[in-house]
């Protein structure tokens, strides 16, 4: 807008720099970013966040519970202390790891890292489960994350040993 086109109150009264400090104010921003707009945006955000929970409910309503099948994993004799073996439970897509720990315990978890689904491996030297993708570490006794980006525990596979054979009999997603 030219100097002539401006209304009287908008015209600069002086050329002195220190007197023209309002030149950097943008009227458009004043109209857009004000208290009313902020409260409206806040209400919009509240509604959007609330509605964002609905898809989770819809998807979870269609999910079926695991069928607790009894699946043979390995012969105990073929798995010495400090070794691990991979298997799938409860479906072929759910890969898992059975570990015979250094202390002689048998533990099994689904081996998809709870961070970004990378496979988790057993590290005998430290007696720990490690995800090499982003250096996530899980406690071998509990399956809970100890270090790195994972925040949730690995799903626990419940085991049964009968006649020298290790079976998977169930799965717990949340556990102590």
């Amino acid at each position: 807008m030219s100097e002539q086109g401006k209304k009287k109150r908008q015209r600069e009264e002086t050329e002195h720099d220190m007197m023209n400090l309002i030149e950097n104010l943008k009227r458009g921003d004043d109209v857009k970013y004000n208290r009313r707009a902020f409260i409206k945006s806040m209400t919009g955000a509240t509604v959007a966040l609330g509605l964002a929970t609905i898809p989770f409910q819809i998807v979870s309503a269609n999910k079926k519970a695991d069928k607790d099948a009894r699946v043979k994993i390995a012969e105990l004799a073929s798995l010495p202390k400090g070794n691990s073996v991979n298997f799938s439970y409860p479906t072929e897509a759910d890969t898992a790891i059975l570990v015979h720990t250094v202390e002689g315990e048998l533990v099994a978890y689904n081996n998809k890292c709870t961070h970004l689904q990378c496979p988790v491996f057993y590290e005998k030297e430290r007696d720990i489960l490690v995800c090499p993708c982003h250096r996530g570490f899980f406690n071998i006794k509990t399956g809970h994350p100890m270090e790195g980006p994972p925040q949730r525990e690995l799903p626990l596979i419940e085991l049964e040993v009968a006649g020298g054979v290790v079976y998977a009999v169930g799965r717990k997603y949340r556990h102590e």
Partner: protein, 72 residues
């Protein structure tokens, strides 16, 4: 706050309710996602109900605030 058929409250009061609803919904969404990945579907439902109630409260507060704000 005075009850005479409808709730009478200052604009600031309604804004505080909207902010509280926003906080509730942020926390609720976080719990929903955690519960979903942990396959705790009952918790997902509970969080969704909390969020829906919070949305209704926020909208009611917003319309009350709007009525006061533009009624000058």
């Amino acid at each position: 706050m005075r009850l005479e058929g409808s709730i009478v409250m200052s604009k600031r009061g309604w804004v505080i309710i909207i902010i509280t609803s926003l906080i509730v919904n942020v926390i609720s969404l976080q719990h929903t996602i955690e519960a979903y990945y942990g396959r705790e579907y009952d918790a997902v439902r509970t969080c969704m109900i909390v969020s829906m109630v919070s949305v209704i409260v926020a909208l009611a507060a917003y319309f009350n605030w709007k009525k006061l704000e533009y009624n000058k």
